[in-house]
């Protein structure tokens, strides 16, 4: 047997035990294979594909229609850029929330069901390290591919189309989209820890994403204390907070941002607390 002399024993303690190795593994699942490329192409098609249609296809079609006398008014490039920014932000928010819920539903659930989580926990691994590794690696992967990359491409498209959107406010708007995504990421992570079957883990986030009109109809106050306030307009003349920020307009209230941060912290806290008590 090979001697121990050349090998250095890891002597971490507390919540960091096993974290570096788990982070390497979780990051590898995003970046170690072609998964990142597949994700990038999918999100490019969803977020920027639709934006490209609005910026480049719609004005051309409108021009042809106006020339043929089929439309009273031509859609200008400038107007298309204004519409494009709004549509990009709204579609990105909805689609990335659904996407991250689908990606994260398996993160804990599959490992609980397959027994790999019990195997990992039989090694020197602190339980918080498992949750933190999944949280950090998936956040980095999702924010980079689903928000930053798409945001960069969208910004380039918008500027090429003549939009006057400024880089600073647009970056801040991407931050709001990131916060919105993290809400659904941490929610799904927590549900994966709490439940042993897939149903509620995927159903609850999807219900929140698609049922916003019903929920806000029942309780309008949710707009201020949930991430709805970030991406859903409060009324016909009150654009969503993310759009106001992207345009550089004044923001009426920061409460939705603060509330979303608090929700994220609560979800992570509950996930850590429950996972520490889980038996395998």
């Amino acid at each position: 047997m090979v001697s121990e002399s050349k090998l250095q024993r890891i002597n971490e303690r507390g919540w960091r035990v096993g974290l570096a190795n788990l982070l390497r593994k979780e990051n590898g699942e995003w970046w170690g294979t072609r998964a990142w490329l597949v994700q990038a192409v999918i999100w490019l098609a969803i977020c920027n594909g639709l934006l490209a249609m609005i910026l480049w296809v719609a004005p051309a079609q409108s021009r042809q229609a106006a020339e043929a006398g089929r439309a009273a008014e031509e859609l200008t490039g400038q107007q298309a850029a204004v519409d494009g920014l709004e549509v990009f932000l709204m579609i990105s928010a909805m689609a990335t929330a659904v996407g991250i819920a689908i990606i994260m539903q398996d993160s804990i659930m599959d490992e609980k069901k397959s027994g790999t989580l019990a195997w990992v926990l039989s090694k020197p691994v602190a339980r918080p390290a498992v949750i933190i590794a999944k949280l950090v690696a998936n956040s980095i992967g999702a924010l980079a591919i689903m928000i930053l990359l798409q945001g960069a491409v969208a910004f380039a498209q918008l500027r090429l189309a003549g939009s006057d959107v400024a880089p600073g406010p647009f970056l801040l708007a991407l931050g709001i989209l990131g916060l919105h995504l993290l809400f659904y990421l941490t929610l799904t992570l927590m549900l994966g820890v709490l439940f042993d079957n897939r149903g509620p883990v995927i159903a609850i986030p999807l219900l929140l994403v698609f049922g916003y009109q019903i929920l806000l109809g029942i309780a309008p106050g949710l707009h201020q204390i949930t991430p709805y306030g970030l991406v859903v307009q409060a009324g016909p003349d009150n654009p969503a907070l993310v759009l106001l920020i992207a345009r550089g307009d004044p923001v009426p209230s920061l409460l939705p941002i603060i509330a979303t941060i608090v929700w994220i912290a609560v979800f992570v806290g509950v996930a850590l607390w429950r996972f520490a008590r889980e038996e395998f």
Partner: protein, 320 residues
């Protein structure tokens, strides 16, 4: 030899309930360093529960214990640094190869240099005979290969204690033989605490045995002691002729505790002679019987129990 540090595992009243079901009842277990300790019991006896409690994968309802001097309730991570564990139905990441699985496992224990870790992985692959399958994804592995990988990942940190849950249960005879050979090879490096219900395997490799039934420990002893039975030393004889004449002579010996005689037909009689002094019995018993010329002895020997006899008698309510 009875100093506390000679015991790698010690539990005191270790209990676990799931709702109204008492899975483990006040287990007092002692596993001596460098032993191969067979943990026996029928399905549902509480063997896997015990192992999960020892590793911190489940929490005891009451009682506690130590592994390598560390408390199982509070020092679980420290324990797992020095223990290797193979689950009953080991599961690994299917997309990883055997080598990647071992690399992932090794990095929980060691940091660089990379070549030293790779050398350890190679060494471990060789130990379990998986060198030629090292770079294949685990998803294509047979049950036996998966089990061997399970032993490899449990051994990659050269643990002071190996906990193996049914290491040979799902294997064909060839696979079982391979696993037992690996356990034999590891005997000189570590303590092995393993559960099984394959009694043949236990008799082949274990030196100490504990029997668990319905969550309760019903026996714990060196295997030789268990196989000797609780009646003490018993000699079995088959006699031809008038066995009744020599019976009083044998029964009168101070070292004879009891003689049970049964007719076997064709003029044969079986005796079970229970003795208190093994040396005296060995020297005198056969001579005493043969001194009477009216009988001949067709069979003579010390009675040995098979582990299966002991196990069945204990788990079905009797006592060995």
């Amino acid at each position: 030899m009875n100093q506390p540090d000679t015991y790698v595992i010690e539990t005191h009243g270790l209990s676990k309930s799931y709702g109204n079901v008492q899975a483990l009842r006040a287990l007092d277990l002692r596993v001596r360093r460098n032993s191969i300790f067979g943990f026996l019991g029928p399905n549902g006896a509480g063997k896997t529960t015990t192992m999960k409690l020892l590793l911190g994968l489940a929490r005891p309802t009451s009682g506690g214990g130590t592994i390598l001097g560390h408390d199982i309730r509070h020092d679980s991570a420290e324990i797992r640094k020095r223990v290797g564990y193979l689950a009953q139905d080991p599961r690994f990441y299917d997309h990883m190869t055997a080598r990647e699985t071992l690399r992932f496992t090794a990095r929980f224990f060691y940091s660089g240099p990379a070549e030293a870790i790779e050398a350890r992985i190679e060494d471990t692959l060789r130990l379990v005979g998986l060198e030629d399958r090292a770079d294949r994804p685990v998803r294509g592995f047979s049950g036996g290969e998966r089990q061997r990988l399970g032993i490899a990942q449990a051994q990659v940190n050269y643990p002071d204690l190996l906990i193996l849950d049914e290491p040979a249960a799902s294997l064909d005879p060839g696979g079982r033989r391979d696993v037992l050979e690996v356990m034999e090879r590891l005997r000189k490096y570590t303590t092995i605490f393993y559960s099984t219900h394959i009694l043949d395997d236990v008799q082949k490799v274990s030196d100490t045995v504990a029997i668990l039934n319905k969550g309760q420990l019903i026996a714990q002893a060196p295997i030789e002691q268990l196989l000797a039975g609780s009646e003490g030393v018993v000699y079995a004889l088959t006699l031809r002729g008038d066995a009744g004449r020599v019976l009083p002579v044998v029964s009168a010996q101070p070292w004879v505790k009891d003689v049970s005689a049964t007719a076997a037909g064709h003029g044969l009689t079986h005796w079970q002679v229970s003795v208190s002094d093994e040396a005296a019995a060995e020297a005198q018993l056969l001579r005493l019987v043969l001194a009477d010329e009216s009988v001949t002895v067709t069979e003579f020997g010390r009675r040995r129990y098979e582990l299966e006899d002991i196990f069945l008698r204990m788990t079905e309510g009797g006592e060995a």
